[in-house]
Symmetry: C2
Subunit: 451 residues, 2 copies
């Protein structure tokens, strides 16, 4: 009789559990066991700012699937279990059951690494004080909300103006705190060009966030082990609550220690089927690389939407099917109250770094027909390669209804379209939805005219 | 000295005036003269239902550009001038100045035909009674609004459940009328499949419209020359106001009489540069054909978005440039109060008529992350070719934020993508904007699973 094959999944969030679920659908005979160091599986990390802000009242809806639900599908998901090491020779992982410290050894035939990413915590004086939070797992979000509701802090400082920083700034403003945001760059949202980021910076100021741009953090002053002030290179800001939003790095400790090769980005190197360089070892999600279709290089982008896709593809292949991940184009979207912001492809800095010559089309238009109630401003910036007209990237800032338009550019990037092609796309039009020339088309035309 | 070349444009709306404007930008030396039988140039016909409903208060914002504004750009646009015939031998058009009946003869070197489409008015008993309106030009919309405000009709009947019928039904409900809609098909919106059209039918009922499906109009009973009742093959409905929304046909009388060839659709035959088969004679917009990229056949689709594109391309070529119209994929969007509806590509009936074998993916999802406030239902239907997986078309019905997603499918159709490719597109995700798997991706995946 053939032995049942055993799949061990390290990390119980988007990538790992998507892989587990998909592998189960493909092959009923697999034994599938997942270990998650936190208390929750398959939660929406992206929902945390909205939970902190109170837009989402309870934490339960953020959990897509509990261990009990996984068990019904024949997947054992053990929460509060930390995988300590991977032994590739003996095909085992060593696990600590956090509840009682018990050490478990778990054999595998297939290993899926879905350890995610960890927030960067710079080694600054006072960084370990209470009240300084980074958002990695769901419990982090719960702790911040608890701190807000229980300790009633008055002053919050957000360190870093990326998506998480922005969304947390909005959340804390909604909670009535005085919110300052310190960002090293010349504008927030450094995945946008500065001219577009400036619009977002202004949107933050408009909701009452005090911005300190081109400032960096020197450290934290504490009072009884609790943070009291944030020191920048220019000033000292009172803060009973600090949110670190200066980015993440892939959590590759286990992989590295086991000798599983990392890529040039520092994330785990995988092929299009989510296989690492080690037979039977797979990786997916925020700990792994993805291929960027426009730069044509591996990138590390920690986003749930990529993690879910990679996890699914991993599971199909692991289950004996065949699927490849085509890659990413760097699409992202966010909002600050009523201001929506989105980007895809390459921005100017990225294009320059790749030595690409480009033209820029930048236009202001409206989200609906100009005469239609609710029409509001949308700014579209389009980059195209100079010699070929090939679309390189796009950025959008505008009111409600603006941001999802980025998906057209994302699709056009996947298809390798030129801006000449984009400008005549048969996009939908009716006065409540768009001007007769959608802002997408005008942006592309403007870029085409620069060629 | 070289004689100034003279361009005559027949029809002063989207196609004709886009052509005129673009030709002017390309060549300062052209003499450009346009004739429009109505009183307005370059107006938004699509805005009329919203003007009738009072969502748009005044008529002026619907006019993108007046004859005075055109004159400043060196374009003479004569309103209330009807072109009676085209003399290709003498390169002249014969025009009646409607104000005084004067007959003018206008020479041309280039002729642009932008005569648009006319609403179908079936030869039924009583069809010419007062109170029976079709919406072709802006004055039609003004007359309906005037009738609503002055005569205070209580009962309106809409004939036909297409976009105009639906939007006018909403407008008249907003004006407090009892509105009935009579449609020959099994559901409204016959550009959707019946299963999707049913959702729209229900949305109409929900706002108080009485639907009579699978009924046809036998005629109208009048009272002193004014409509009083609509007779269907099943009942008699009281109606002091009737809106005809049973479609349009291209206005090709002038072209046909002049011997300018029409295509198989009955619209004017043009090439990708908007040239008719007659040297120096161009056509664009609702009177002309467009090439459908999926059926790979000429089609006649009367929509402002196509008319503007074709007009622009006509003007570039006419002005000595080079531009070709890639074609259309049949994208359209509308809404009934809070229910949005959109389509692109081929529906089932169209696919069958072309002999295409297809699979269907149909899913229900949400417009935002399920836990995010304002998330609502969206239904996505995707058609893919059986043998190849090539995307053939998509239909969407849902709450606010649903419909513009059709543009991703439209872009994917332009690119010739398969549903396997669509399912892994790097679309934007954040909880206020989409579930982590956008409904587009799930719909495409569902279709891919049927292959």
């Amino acid at each position: 009789m053939q032995k049942t094959e055993r799949v061990v999944v390290v990390g119980g969030d988007a990538a790992g559990m998507s892989a587990a679920s998909q592998a189960r659908r493909m092959r009923a005979d697999l034994e599938i066991v997942a270990f998650e160091r936190g208390a929750y599986t398959s939660y929406s990390a992206c929902g945390m700012p909205y939970y902190v802000g109170g837009v989402v009242a309870d934490v339960e809806p953020l959990v897509a699937r509990t261990p009990q639900e996984f068990l019904k599908r024949g997947i054992q998901a053990h929460v509060r279990h930390e995988v300590e090491s991977i032994d590739l020779n003996r095909r085992m992982v060593h696990v600590t059951r956090l509840e009682d410290g018990a050490a478990l050894s778990e054999p595998f035939d297939h290993l899926v690494i879905g350890t995610g990413a960890v927030p960067i915590r710079p080694a600054l004086p006072g960084i370990d004080a209470r009240g300084i939070h980074a958002l990695a797992i769901l419990e982090d979000g719960m702790r911040v909300r608890q701190a807000v509701e229980r300790d009633r802090p008055q002053n919050a400082v957000i360190v870093g103006g990326g998506y998480i920083g922005l969304e947390m700034a909005e959340a804390l403003v909604m909670r009535g705190l005085n919110v300052s945001l310190v960002e090293r760059g010349a504008s927030v949202m450094n995945t946008l060009d500065t001219d577009m980021g400036d619009v977002v910076s202004q949107a933050l100021r408009d909701i009452g966030v005090t911005l300190y741009l081109e400032e960096s953090i020197d450290g934290f002053e504490t009072d009884g082990g609790k943070v009291a002030f944030v020191k920048t290179d220019r000033r000292t800001l009172p803060a009973e609550l600090v949110i670190l939003g200066i980015g993440t790095r892939p959590d590759t400790v286990l992989a590295r220690n086991a000798g599983i090769p990392l890529g040039e980005t520092g994330a785990i190197k995988i092929n299009a089927r989510m296989q690492t360089d080690v037979e039977g070892v797979w990786a997916a999600g925020d700990c792994a690389e993805a291929f960027h279709l426009i730069s044509r290089r591996p990138v590390h982008i920690a986003l749930g939407t990529i993690a879910n896709k990679q996890g699914r593809i991993c599971g199909i292949n692991l289950g004996g099917g065949y699927a490849t991940f085509p890659g990413v184009v760097g699409t992202a979207v966010s909002k600050i109250c009523t201001v929506e912001v989105a980007r895809t492809g390459l921005n100017e800095k990225e294009a320059r770094a790749l030595g690409l010559e480009y033209v820029v089309g930048r236009i202001d238009s409206t989200t609906r027909a100009g005469y239609f109630p609710g029409a509001g401003k949308i700014t579209v910036k389009v980059l195209a390669e100079r010699a070929t007209g090939r679309l390189l990237g796009a950025q959008l800032v505008g009111i409600e209804g603006a941001a999802k338009r980025i998906d057209v550019f994302a699709t056009a990037l996947h298809a390798g379209m030129t801006v000449e092609e984009v400008q005549y796309l048969d996009l939908s039009y009716a006065p409540p939805f768009a001007p007769v020339w959608d802002p997408i088309l005008i942006g592309a035309r403007k870029a085409a005219e620069q060629l």
